[in-house]
Amino acid sequence: MILFSVNRQRVNLDVDPSTPLLWVLRESLGLTGTKYGCGVAQCGACTVHLNGEAIRSCVAPVSRAEGKEVTTIEGLSPDLSHPLQRAWMAEDVPQCGYCQSGQLMSAAVLLHEKPRPSDEDIDEAMTGNICRCGTYPRIRKAIHRAAAMMSTGEAK
């Protein structure tokens, strides 16, 4: 049995501990917002937070989550109120949308660590997240927008 928490809910699962966290989230817990893109930590579609750190869940065995707190896109906010989600809507970021959960989860850690990121900070934090539709220019703008919202206290 593996005990950990997902989006502030305790889960106790009887799964092979070597199973990647991605597939446990998607298949055992039905949290399909986290996506499979490459399986080898190359694209970032599977990005989730493990104790507040952005990780690629496709290569993280679920055993790594033991006793820890996992946050997925479903737990970013209950009502689209996270500054990043609001900025994503304002900049009309997504196209196909498949990579966006991972983009948002990477960006959330960036803003937590650097509330006013520079373009170089954004490059560094977001380069592990591929978007095939080419939404990068809008992601960049949306991160700056979210940062501005947070600094002016516009966000909750």
Binding site: C38, T72, P94, Y98, R132
Partner: protein, 715 residues
């Protein structure tokens, strides 16, 4: 049928011929209502719309949402004529049914950058008809003359300013007779069309709720991963599943026509067991295939004349008399579509029904193919179109490969099953953008004006061997192979275009912008080479040859002006330019690059488009940004190569995609006019590679004639 449509029909007659010539009306008044078990209070005036007593306006969209914005643009068209309250408008994917056929292609399909222009009147008509019925319903309630009533933002209003909302009118409106004829708004009065309203599908794409094919799961549904041939055309001789079938969660291992399927409780279990199946393959004819040998053969083929596609004047005589000549051979590789969401397909096959959930661009074709495998009539097969995690053409396969295979797997499994492809499976699964070679020779006279141009193309046909082969009959060649060079707009008196159809056993398919993805590169690089030969500025050289093409000129001028074409740049940077017409739209781009240690950095791309009467400028900007990035990825990084019949690339590390830190600034501009609507998903692709390559020449003096760009291969 309006003039616009007749012209479209003429333009696309090959498609229509190929698809059996079935053209449905744009809008059929009184068309049978949706067979949805909804309460009667819901107003369903036609196949494209439902209005509930809760005021919700649901637009049923007959094109697949793969990122290009149809779930917003098509509802906008309908809502405009309906005078709906945009905040109440939602979308739903259409089931497979002839009434959702593409009005020109005669089948349910998303492709050819055609969704908006094909729906432009269809969806407006549907909205206008519903509006007339709502007005009739209000007139009945008020005992008023319908002509005295008007509509605004989801309500009908009378002369005394009394209001009835569409939701309140839904029940009565459902009893009204659909109008035989509708009057569409004067475009000058549009409130929604032409405005950058936000996409309707953003909220569910940023909270994890959007359902893509890979997310589909039903009680009792198992997951399958398939071991497919390592070499195209290889067949399973025998396989040993003694280990795999005893692995945790594995329910079944079965041979299917495409390989060996492993069905398990979860993806991960199926994947591990699939990797443990040992298969002895009969590798067939492609066992020794190599792309380097193939390109060598292409070069040989290019030495002899090909099938004539276009011939103006006497190119050979003109070339002989030219003051200066230049020859160039351009080569582009096979490319993968590489959608972020790998292929997948869920199937629930029963004795008398087959339900399919997948992200497809090709519903009609997939349904017929699935029905054949299932042994059921078409009507017993339904496809639920999910969101597509990218398409770019891969999910419109004439052979319906991923759907057909999933039905075979479901048959073997005996239970509902979802087939999921790994990234490696997806990349190695074929249906690539074909590799192409363009051998071009051209000459200019003493004044520097081009007098002759001969293009000879070698590459595979996409249509050959498919249901679209009919499109080749009339011309004797595949029009998709030469599109974009057969209509070269430059005023050159002597011009020849020839095509050698290469026969190679690699499955090929349309990849965002299809033939234009290579013809744009070759022609726009070569015109640049001619400009250099003539000692002329590449922008002005093009201008002088486009005097009879005002729409080409307009985008070229706009891009050049916005990019500051003649303004100096910091040392080490230079600009390149390109212009191209594709999918009924005109695009020009200026790229600004630098080269450091042989590595090309694209700093800025300015893209100008003329796509005629447009619906949502915000989505157009997004498509131009995305098109440029998609094309820049290919130009800078991407190449599929084969050795011993095996693809050498497996995943993102060997087939790179442009990332955030490599992404240029992109500026987009739209030419304002009232021409008929053109496409937008693909037209932003063809100019990027040549604009970058021409900029690399401007900064290094070296010509890029092969993609992806490698300075070591420049000439």
């Amino acid at each position: 049928m309006s003039t616009l449509w007749m012209e479209r029909r003429e333009f696309l007659k090959f498609s229509v011929a190929a698809s059996g010539g079935l053209l449905i009306g744009l809008y059929l008044p009184g068309a049978s209502k949706l067979a949805v078990a909804e309460e009667r209070s819901i107003f369903m005036p036609n196949a494209f719309l439902r209005i509930g007593t809760d005021e919700r306006v649901t637009v049923i969209v007959n094109h697949s949402e793969m990122g290009q914005g149809v779930y917003t643009a098509l509802p906008m068209l309908l809502a405009e004529e309906l005078d709906a309250d945009w905040n109440k408008v939602g979308y739903e994917s259409a089931p497979v049914d002839p009434k959702y056929n593409h009005p020109v292609f005669g089948m349910q399909i998303t492709g050819g950058s055609s969704s908006v222009w094909s729906a432009f009147e269809q969806y407006r008509n549907a909205g206008a008809a519903a509006r007339a019925m709502l007005i009739a319903a209000a007139a009945q309630q008020w005992n008023a003359n319908p002509a005295t009533l008007r509509t605004e933002s989801g309500v009908v209003i009378d002369g005394a300013n009394r209001k009835l909302s569409y939701g309140l009118l839904a029940e009565t409106a459902a009893k009204m007779t659909p109008p035989a004829k509708v009057t569409l708004k004067d475009p000058k009065t549009f409130k929604l069309i032409g405005t950058p309203v936000k996409r309707l599908d953003t909220p569910e794409k940023i909270n994890g709720k959007a359902v893509f094919g890979i997310d589909v799961k039903h009680p009792g549904m198992l997951t399958a991963v398939v071991a497919r041939a390592p070499v195209f055309g290889a067949k399973v001789k025998s396989f040993d599943d003694s280990h795999a079938r005893n692995m945790p969660g594995v329910r079944k291992v079965a041979a299917v026509p495409s390989g060996v399927a492993v069905v398990a409780d979860s993806f991960w279990q199926a994947k591990l067991a699939r990797d443990a199946v040992r298969i002895d393959w009969d590798e067939g004819e492609m066992h020794a295939f190599s792309t380097s040998q193939m390109m060598q053969q292409f070069r040989e083929q290019a030495k002899s004349p090909g099938k004539s596609v276009r011939r103006d004047g006497d190119p050979d005589a003109a070339l002989a008399k030219a003051a200066q000549k230049i020859e160039a051979v351009y080569e582009v590789p096979y490319l993968s579509h590489l959608m972020m969401e790998p292929l997948n397909c869920a199937v629930d096959l029963r004795a008398d029904s087959c339900e399919i959930w997948t992200g497809t661009q090709f519903q009609t074709v997939d349904r017929a193919a699935a029905a054949k495998v299932a042994g059921l009539p078409n009507e017993k097969v339904q496809i639920h179109t999910t969101f597509l995690g990218g398409g770019f053409g891969r999910r419109a396969t004439p052979q319906s490969d991923f759907v057909v295979e999933a039905v075979h797997v479901a048959k073997a499994a005996g239970v509902p099953v979802k087939v999921v492809w790994t990234r490696e499976d997806d990349m190695q699964g074929g249906w690539y953008r074909p590799a192409f070679l363009h051998a071009i020779v051209g000459g200019v006279d003493a004044s520097g004006s081009p007098v002759s141009w001969k293009s000879r193309l070698v590459g595979q046909s996409i249509f050959a061997g498919t249901m679209f082969e009919g499109m080749m009959k009339e011309k004797g060649y595949d029009p998709a192979a030469v599109e974009g060079v057969d209509d070269l707009p430059y005023e050159i008196p002597n011009l020849a275009v020839e095509y050698h159809q290469a026969e190679v056993g690699v499955p090929v398919q349309w990849w965002r912008s299809v033939g234009h993805s290579h013809t744009g590169f070759a022609t726009e690089c070569f015109i640049d080479e001619l400009a250099t030969l003539a000692h002329k500025d590449p922008y002005q050289f093009r201008r002088a040859l486009l005097t009879k093409h005002p729409r080409h000129l307009a985008v070229l001028d706009l891009a050049a002006q916005k990019a500051g074409w003649s303004k100096p740049l910091p040392k080490g940077r230079a600009r390149g330019i390109a212009v191209h017409f594709a999918f009924e739209s005109y695009n020009a781009q200026v790229a600004e690059v630098s080269v450091t240690d042989g590595r090309v950095r694209v700093h800025r791309i300015v893209s100008a488009v003329d796509c005629g009467h447009y619906v949502n400028p915000g989505i157009i900007a997004a498509q131009l940004e995305g098109g440029a990035i998609f094309a820049a990825s290919a130009a800078l990084f991407q190449e599929l190569t084969f050795e011993n019949g095996r693809l050498q690339q497996t995943n993102f590390h060997t087939f790179p995609v442009m990332r955030m830190n490599e992404c240029p600034e992109i500026e987009t501009h739209i030419v304002e006019n009232n021409e008929k609507s053109g496409g937008i998903g693909e037209p932003g692709v063809p100019c990027t590679a040549p604009a970058i390559a021409n900029a690399v020449f401007a900064v290094t003096g070296k010509r890029i004639r092969k993609l992806p760009i490698r300075l070591t291969e420049a000439v």
